[in-house]
């Protein structure tokens, strides 16, 4: 319990600055990252190295011109530059799937995708699923019918993973659906209800 004080004594000083402390803990391999959420949303005048690039993205069937920094993630571009806040950020490090979007038919974590790599790709977000008159995608309707969402924060990601699954495999087994959805965490534990929704949506698509 007094190991720290022994350490400080051995170092020949009673106290450490925050900077020294951080150096010490980095050396011990247990640093806490506070840098997970960083985006530069505006250019800072006179700032060196802030290279802005105007690129064209295809989002939900629309062509969008947008300024994108070299290290900017797709989730940040969608949420903070294109106003598409349906894509959620819960971990920002590819652990939870709340930020899932579909790129060229494949489910992708937008928090861990660089926007610059999205040029020439077809991006679909949760906002792009509804039909022209607001009709819901079968997955969205099935999630409503099965009471899939509880708090709802992971729901857009769950919807996108389910839609991508059904594109790939219109008639999944429950087990296949579970594996396809395994990259989407839900703290409310609504997994069973989302699976019910996937199976219901698969049936409705197959029937029609």
């Amino acid at each position: 319990m007094t190991d720290q004080h022994e350490f400080f004594k051995a170092e020949g000083r009673a106290t450490l600055s925050r900077r020294d402390f951080i150096k010490g803990v980095i050396a011990s391999g247990v640093a806490v990252s506070s840098m997970a959420y960083v985006v530069r949303t505006q250019s800072v005048p006179g700032r060196a190295g802030a290279v802005e690039r105007l690129i064209t993205l295809n989002v939900n069937g629309q062509t969008r011109r947008v300024d994108v920094l070299p290290n900017e993630t797709l989730a940040m571009t969608l949420r903070y530059k294109l106003g598409l806040t349906g894509t959620k950020l819960a971990c920002d490090r590819a652990e939870c799937g709340s930020c899932t979007v579909i790129v060229d038919g494949v489910a992708l974590y937008s928090c861990s995708t660089l926007t610059h790599r999205m040029r020439g790709r077809e991006i679909t977000t949760i906002e792009g699923l509804e039909g022209p008159s607001g009709e819901l995608n079968p997955v969205q309707q099935a999630f409503i019918d099965e009471l899939g969402p509880q708090c709802g924060f992971c729901t857009p990601g769950q919807v996108m993973s389910a839609v991508a699954l059904l594109v790939d495999n219109p008639n999944p087994t429950r087990q296949e659906a579970r594996e396809a959805m395994a990259g989407n965490l839900c703290r409310c534990g609504a997994y069973e209800f989302y699976l019910n929704g996937v199976m219901r949506a698969a049936n409705s698509v197959t029937r029609s």
Binding site: T15, I22, Y37, T41, A90, E95, R187, F193
Partner: protein, 800 residues
Amino acid sequence: MANLVGTNFTPPDIRGKVTGRAKYAEDFRAEGMLFCRLLTSPMPHGRVRDIDASEALAMPGVVAILTADEVPEMPEPEDQILTNEPHFVGEPILAVAAVDEATAEDAIARIRVDLEPLPFALDPLESLRPGGPNARLSGNAVVPREEGVREVKWTEEDFAAVADGQLPMGEPTLTWSYGDLEDGFANASVVLDETFVTGGNCHHSMEPRTAMAYWQDGRCFLFGSNQSQARVVPGLARYLEIDQDLVVFIGEHCGGGFGSKGSAYPTQVVPAYMAKKTGRPVMMRISRAEEYAIGSARPGFQGRIKMGFRQDGRLLACDLYIVQENGPNSGFNDWMSAAGAVSLVYTPVAMRFRGVSVLTNTPPRGPQRGPGQNQIAMAVEPVLDKAARQLGIDQFAIRRINAPDHDARYGGEREPVTSSYMGEALDQGAERFDWQTKRTRSGERRGSKVIGVGVGQAFHSAGTNGFDGLVRLTPDGKLHIHTGVGNLGTYSYVTTSRVAAEVLQCSWENCVIERGDSRLGLPWNNGQFGSNTSFTMSRTNYAAAMDAVRKLKVLAALDLGGSPEDYEIGNETVFRRGNPSRRLTYAAAGQRAIELGGEFDGHEMAEDLNRMTKTAVQGLAGTGLIGAARDNLERTGMVPALAVGFMVIDLDLETGKFEILDYLGVAECGTVMHPQGVAAQSRGAAVMGVGLATLEQMAFDPQWGLPRTVGLYQAKPPSYLDVPVETDSDAVDQPDPQNPVGAKGIGEPLQGCASAALLCAISDALGGHYFNRTPVSTDMIISAAAGLPQSQRPLQVHTE
């Protein structure tokens, strides 16, 4: 008239959730919005000696820095907004506002904070030792009914028990007892004395506790992530040091709270203070890593329980001691609730509880789903099984004989209960699950796999009274149900609102729920926590609707003659009994109320309403017929929510992995108001229960006191692959007599019963091995199966 209580519905906010239109705190924007980031403590306990921010302030794009000296200091040991004496790694010291987050982060990297490290405590027992470290300069314990913090130390003699792997039991800070304990143990056929450890775990709400704020005309607009609505406002006002009428709280959705966002929390006012300082809107997003520091966590226990059973399994005596790991601040009363749960669920003839809650320099603790009750269910339920084995009786039988009925009493005060159908829940579940057949599979071997069966129980106090309801009939014929409860994701804000529609016999299509924004005129409701919404807010909405019915009848009598008693309601009209042609539609009544004024349209109101409700009614006055009332209905006991889980698992003795083959959760929640919702709570809580029992952990580096579990993959909430693809749920569905629709809450015990059932099933598969520790990890299972000693020392905390 549709029967609205007990039927399913499409929640009004669910379409927004599946389309991404539902707005959470981070989805709001304001013109000229700045971003703010926190500089947090890198050490578990320290003192700021100096802050040099000159270089940071000179950076382009940096707008302001906010330090602890500029915000109110909360009384010790409450959570602080910002602090100069951090008590845990990740505690916010100062905040920087800039044009964007990257700039704010760059600025933080250039701020020099001179921090003096102070002694820190991680293990409660170490802190209780003579000369052990204190988490705070003022001491190491929060003591019930005492202000502040003081030092509690035990003697070396007290610690002698540690050598035998048993919990030392020095001077407690809380004791209660009833019955003759010694007599109970003397008459017992089997006496067990078990020392146990239950680990803490983070809340892992998917939405980090982001907030955005701005000021307008002296009012603070705050967009936050909170489980509750009305209950948050006075807390924010206190942190902001302004009148609560000047707080506009917008909380349309909450991306998970599980207890960690029940009331206002201090970090969410940082952007408000920053907005005040800069004159611009400020958003402060919280990262996942920060969430592990300031996002709250469940307290851990080091405990000991001695239980004496009669030959037939009846629990004659129970002696419980809990040392709680409290975190550095106020913490929560899990340890006391755990003792209450034991007194109720197992109805011991005699019981004593002793405990102490010890401060540690680990993340602040707060209520998490079933706070105390679920930890103790995990510790005690496998002990019941151990006793059952020694007594030669069935695991079900030992629970059934001790099950609480309506005469059961709660806690040291022996408080009565409003209703308890625990026996019925056990019987109904056993039949539906086919317990008698399934229990015969216990011990069945296939290669390295073995079948285990288990049954678990849990409880939470689930309802209160004294809050207000507010409804409004407008001239367009709509019934507006104003709810201040919050929107945690259980949809109980809807189920309880439907009670008002039911009383007024309104079609659901003509109802509008007003919620999520203080400006809509929301009544003083309890928070959406403690499984209390269903009981508490069905009562408030009932009271408000009954007030509206009364006013409809008085108004009809005024206009159409006769006395109010001559009138009835139906088909959204108030009509004269025996002469339905003499009637007023609700639309017309809404219009007439406005013309008549007074109490009809809210220009006058009942004196006993809370000031928040009064402000709401004043704002709505003149817009329709207003029903507003305090819930003065009788409540003469504690409202128990009870749950039972039945489970069959297939445990691999070589890998320590298990598969859940069958699970049934049974809810004893009074009348079922929303069948789909109860199923969602039951099965979802079971998923959390699996995590609590076997996966989720909080570990710290003992040398530096740094957290080692700061990612979802490290702290490990369950994924799709950790739980079955299908489970079962059921409910007893018997009305509680002290609720107008018979409802009680349920959300919390549904987790604990699943955790307990799983741990009992694992023990069963291992031939009755009791682990004395949760979570039970795969390596613990492998060691137990191989007959090897466990790698953790008895009483060791924060194990991985």
